[in-house]
């Protein structure tokens, strides 16, 4: 079964196409990396899929049904820089926001919602920071708050925009453990990823993107020198150590 299917997606800014003729499908239960150079439209792809940007054309289906936020089967982790960290709120409160779709209009978060949020904080090693104003958290801790928030959304398909950017080693490990746990539960996670080194280790499915889909498939088939060169327009340097190929972008 397909977690995500995109047909004929086009997104344009000022009548210039940023994404064109995007066709792709992502298998259910995969950990998928979206990889491509700066300006390839990776974040744009996620935002267009989830309706945050206007699409010129395209059909999106999630788990076989046309995408609608009302189905509540999608979780989203934005780039860390996209929100105002000076906002008067604390870590626990931000995580509770992930429950707002379940809580519904005119109601307040229940005890159960709060318990879920606390559990998610604990899971990401942030139990001591519940009352902390969010600006006073480190970059890695802020990222973990965002992941905890996605977790309490209790979705089937997660979209994450560069969750590994600017985080410490401890956070990177916490994130990858979480991704593997989600996969074990049969969830699908689609991640915009910038670090080519870790793609084969972290992800079993890879989408190479540069304005359109260059390749999409199991990582071992797609993550090849040829296809990467094609994606990055020949701007990559490869060198091998002990027969093990390494990539530098």
């Amino acid at each position: 079964m397909e977690a995500l299917n995109v047909k004929d997606l086009q997104v344009a800014y000022d009548r210039k196409a940023v994404l064109d003729q995007v066709e792709l499908s992502i298998p259910k239960g995969s950990l998928t990396a979206i990889v491509g150079p700066n300006g390839a439209g990776k974040s744009t792809l996620i935002k267009a899929i989830l309706g945050m940007l206007k699409r010129s054309s395209g059909q999106i289906s999630i788990l076989g049904k046309p995408y609608s936020p009302k189905n509540r089967n999608v979780g989203y982790v934005p780039q860390r820089g996209s929100v105002d960290w000076d906002f008067p709120t604390n870590a626990l409160d931000v995580i509770l926001m992930g429950r707002y779709g379940h809580i519904g209009w005119f109601k307040r978060p229940s005890k159960q919602d709060i318990a879920l949020a606390k559990e998610a904080l604990h899971k990401l090693g942030m139990a001591d920071y519940a009352d902390r104003q969010i600006r006073q958290l480190s970059g890695g801790q802020q990222q973990r708050v965002f992941l905890a928030r996605a977790l309490v959304q209790d979705a089937e398909v997660y979209f994450m925009d560069e969750p590994f950017v600017g985080v410490d080693a401890k956070t990177e490990k916490a994130i990858i453990d979480l991704l593997r746990e989600l996969k074990q539960k049969g969830k699908t996670v689609i991640v915009v990823h910038h670090d080519l080194q870790t793609v084969p280790e972290y992800f079993d499915h890879t989408l190479l993107l540069n304005r359109t889909v260059i390749a999409n498939g199991p990582t071992e088939q797609v993550f090849t020198e040829d296809l990467l060169q094609k994606t990055y327009g020949g701007a990559l340097a490869f060198f091998s150590t002990n027969g093990d190929k390494r990539v530098m972008s």
């Binding site: 989830l50 936020p69 999608v74 934005p78 996209s82 008067p88 604390n90 992930g98 104003q133």
Partner: protein
């Protein structure tokens, strides 16, 4: 109630309603929209007067809300078409305000609508223009403000979660299926009716200070939005009370003194706030 009592009550209601609504403008970093809307509502009031030929509060509220939303929409549209956001704000509200001024000078010269009044307000006249509700004689402007304050409070209580989430992370709100644009216009509608309610008392210019200053003080004192809302109302009411007695003492404009009192309260908070005050930051810098 005494003349003084009505003025104090009216001023406090201005402070509380503006303080409450203003908080959301501050956390959304949109305080300049308060400036825009508060000036544009003049056009709404004049148009309502010309259409309905009366200065009845209801017509004014409708006219101001419509023009407030049109202002927000026009700014957004200009911005989307490539004009810088601050420039869009500057263009739209000055044009609307200018049209309002021209219409007043053409058609409404002889009534209780003049440009100076629109800019500065005159709270001292409010207790003389009354109606009787349930056997109590209350000033019209105070009655309207009371309704607006209660309405704004109810809207904020009902949509608190949604207002908070769309302010903090609109992208997440979209994926949760919240009508982000609708909530934005709901808030702008609230700003418009609060501005028009405060118009008689403090005028178009000073209402901006009531929308922005109390919330900014509160922002320096807490890390919780709900507490910020409460503090903001308290700061709004305190500006009103200190401003009134300051005006008596100096024999000066009441609305001017209210804004000045707000400014002084801000200065004190900015320096002495135990959380984000200047002294606290200075001390933290020395010890680190």
């Amino acid at each position: 109630m005494t003349y003084e009592g009505w003025i104090l009550l009216t001023a406090c209601l201005v402070g509380i309603s503006c303080g409450m609504v203003g908080c959301f403008l501050i956390v959304r970093r949109m305080t300049m929209l308060a400036d825009a809307i508060s000036h544009s509502v003049l056009l709404g009031i004049v148009l309502a007067f010309l259409v309905a030929n009366s200065l009845n509060g209801i017509y004014m509220l409708i006219g101001a809300t419509v023009i407030g939303l049109v202002t927000t929409f026009a700014i957004q549209s200009l911005h989307n078409s490539g004009v810088q956001e601050d420039a869009s704000i500057g263009i739209v509200f000055t044009t609307f305000f200018a049209i309002g001024v021209i219409l007043i000078s053409l058609f409404a010269r002889d009534v209780h609508l003049d440009v100076e009044h629109a800019l500065m307000g005159e709270i001292a006249f409010i207790p003389w223009n009354t109606y009787t509700v349930f056997g109590i004689e209350i000033p019209k402007a105070t009655g309207m403000l009371l309704c607006i304050t209660i309405f704004a409070l109810l809207v904020i209580l009902m949509f608190y979660k949604e207002l908070k989430l769309t302010s903090f992370d609109a992208a997440l709100a979209v994926t949760l299926g919240l009508p982000v644009a609708l909530i934005h216009y709901l808030l702008m509608g609230l700003v418009s009716i609060t501005a028009v309610g405060s118009f008689d008392a403090v005028g178009a210019v000073l209402v901006v200070s009531m929308l922005v200053v109390p919330g900014t003080c509160a922002y320096l004192l807490t890390d919780r939005l709900s507490v910020m809302l409460l503090y903001s109302c308290l700061f709004g009411a305190a500006s009103a009370i200190f401003g009134y007695y300051g005006a008596l003492w100096l024999d000066a404009s009441i609305s001017g003194s209210m804004s000045a009192a707000g400014g002084i309260l801000f200065l004190l908070t900015w320096v002495f706030s135990p959380r984000y005050g200047l002294l606290r930051r200075y001390r933290a810098m020395i010890t680190s």
